[in-house]
Symmetry: C2
Subunit: 409 residues, 2 copies
């Protein structure tokens, strides 16, 4: 959601007193946003007004021009993987719009493939854009995207470029999307064989985390979101790490209530990092929350995406925790606690690709991705991270040996 | 150019005290930008350091990691129409980079078609994106676009979506791009037969208005930018309107010095509207600077784009000035001054399409484009505009008769 800007000053200055012909206009300004995440259950039940309440009328000048009553024009984009497990979802969306006077459906709910294919196949983007065009969604209308992280990335990208940005409401349907990616301000698709080569930064109008959407997840997808919770706890909040340690066994047994507390806190820490970190759109210095991610990205890629993102992050977090202990900051018992909590959540921390010599190429690719110098987070202690600009490949190899050793032991 | 954000507060509030299970996280934040327009001559002369000085190093952590010296990686995208008239431009760009140590050319200058084809033909966008990918431009690298408004829109869109935004420097090469469109924060291409259906808001790293780039313009293109100067003067600045009245004959005779003063002030007023108008990204209420544009857009379209944008704006500004005098705000002598200054600049204010009954459809299309109620600017007096939410078609028809009558007299 967005507010108004607060211009500060402007002026006409000569660029250089010695250059009579040159001048410049410099105009500083700022734009205010509000990033909102709501937590609920049964978001599509007609009696739950949260989704409808999140929407502002598409035409709020309706009175001034004597037009129709204020209403929000919306179109749903649903993840086919989710609809496959909950076939009633398109009808639920239609019924929800019918039950709420202020919600006007501009198009029948659209079901598109989720997962990485959504980001790899340009015709899927094209079909969402075509739907936006056909249904005359304008900059004050809403695209409501319901699905996993890839579907949300795709739909969010379509929303951010159509008419230079229509409003987006996200309902993430995986633990990973609810506690991390779906809470962010990024979207994108893959192009030229590069992940997220095309995309934009855009603050969603609202994010709605519906705990009931997690009910149909497979065991792997259920687990996958919690490695990002461990990651954000390790770099930000020792108390939260202890909370995850206490909840890990219950989460592994699919205790929805225990999971909700962890998801909520993880979402909050991720959101705060974006909004309070000093550079939400990563315009100056890239400081993403990516402890453990240099190797995770590479492992995903080397596995041909057989490894889920959350599974690769679990391995990457374990590796950089062991590295942190070898580099002298984190204590060995602390590193052991990291490995233990990840295993308690059900993650496998061993993988043959850890021995692949190409793994270390991930460091240079990570630097290229950041676009500046190499910056990697390492742990001083649980809950406290620091930036490192050099990583010793020999120590990485030693950390891999230790990690594989403890795994085999 | 961008700065850091200034987070204000955050908190965890219950959404509604009666709903124990629901909660929300709301995080307000803001992002600071600086919008900069520089004025120069001979921007590609090796001795002119302005362009090089605008660029920050792509790797400013170079020292920290013991890497290469700080330098900016850049790629040029040049308008084929401009290169056609100034065939040395690609070589000049290469020589400029060679003359400035801090400027590292990442790819040979790319020449792409300018004009509306740049925005209509998806393969042109694709070729620019492919070049960005091939040359490994990152988020801290620069795309330097040199050309007319359409080329700048295309290149700016490619820059805004590649890697979720690489840095863009614009060197507009038409009067229209230098005094209006090139100074803005919008970019985009056409899709599904709709103008600017895809695009983004993005603040360029810098805009450089090089007066010498205007030397090769045709008479029509030279003239075309000044109707937007008249427009912004009419709604913002009576003194500037008088300045244009005094300069009009000289501009029509292609006096570069007289033109520069008008271009500079027009650019400044357009820029200030964006940065001080309260909604630079048009996120809440669309308040574009589009006096006279509802009919201009429609005339362009009905003419099959035979009418240049600036020519259509001249007619549209004339029409809405006459309408403003008929609606009782502007005086008839003031409206006559508007017609006189546009004619003195060389604009033809009569056009057979003014009698086309489809012209009035432009009002509804304009409302749809804004996405809310209809808001049209009308003049209280020269230099002072107000919003109108209703336009009387009978009075529009009367205004057309008057305009065509004065034109024929």
């Amino acid at each position: 959601m967005v507010g108004v800007s607060f211009p500060r000053s402007r002026g006409l200055y000569p660029l250089d007193p010695s250059m009579q012909d040159d001048a410049s206009i410099r105009a500083p300004f700022s734009v205010s946003f509000e990033h909102r995440v709501f937590f609920t259950r049964g978001a599509f039940e007609p009696a739950n007004s949260l989704l409808a309440d999140c929407l502002d009328p598409t035409r709020d000048l309706a009175d001034a021009v004597g037009g129709a009553a204020a209403e929000a024009r919306v179109a749903f984009v649903l993840d086919a993987g989710l609809v496959n497990k909950r076939p009633s979802l398109p009808d639920e969306a239609v019924a929800y719009a019918e039950a709420h006077e202020a919600v006007r459906l501009a198009h029948p709910p659209m079901v598109v493939p989720g997962g990485e294919i959504a980001k790899n196949e340009p015709t899927i983007l094209q079909s969402v854009l075509q739907m936006i065009e056909t249904s005359h969604l304008c900059r004050r209308s809403y695209l409501i995207a319901v699905g996993g992280g890839a579907l949300l990335d795709l739909a969010g990208y379509a929303a951010s470029i159509a008419h230079r940005g229509i409003r987006l409401v996200r309902l993430p349907s995986t633990t990973l999307a609810q506690d991390d990616s779906g809470v962010g301000v990024k979207n994108g698709i893959n192009a030229f064989g590069k992940k997220n080569f095309l995309g934009a930064f855009a603050v969603p109008h609202a994010v709605i985390n519906d705990a009931d959407l997690l009910a149909t997840l497979s065991a792997r997808d259920w687990r996958s979101g919690f490695s990002e919770a461990v990651k954000v706890a390790l770099v930000k909040d020792a108390g939260f790490f202890e909370q995850i340690e206490r909840a890990a066994a219950s989460i592994a047994e699919r205790d929805a209530e225990a999971a909700q507390l962890i998801i909520r806190r993880s979402a909050e820490l991720h959101l705060r990092h974006i909004t309070e970190g000093g550079d939400p759109f990563e315009l100056t210095e890239a400081r993403p929350l990516d402890f453990g991610h240099w190797s995770a990205h590479k492992l995903e890629q080397l596995s041909g995406y057989e490894l889920r993102h959350g599974e690769a992050v679990a391995i990457g977090v374990a590796l950089d925790s062991v590295y942190s202990s070898l580099a002298g900051d984190l204590t060995a018992p602390e590193a052991d606690r990291v490995l233990a909590v990840l295993r308690a959540l059900g993650f496998e921390l061993d993988h043959p690709l850890l021995d692949d010599p190409r793994l270390l190429d991930g460091l240079e690719e990570f630097r290229e991705h950041l676009g500046g110098g190499l910056t990697i987070s390492l742990l001083n202690s649980i809950g406290d991270a620091r930036d490192a600009h050099e990583i010793d490949p020999a120590v990485v190899r030693l950390a891999i040996e230790r990690l594989r050793g403890t795994t085999r032991a």
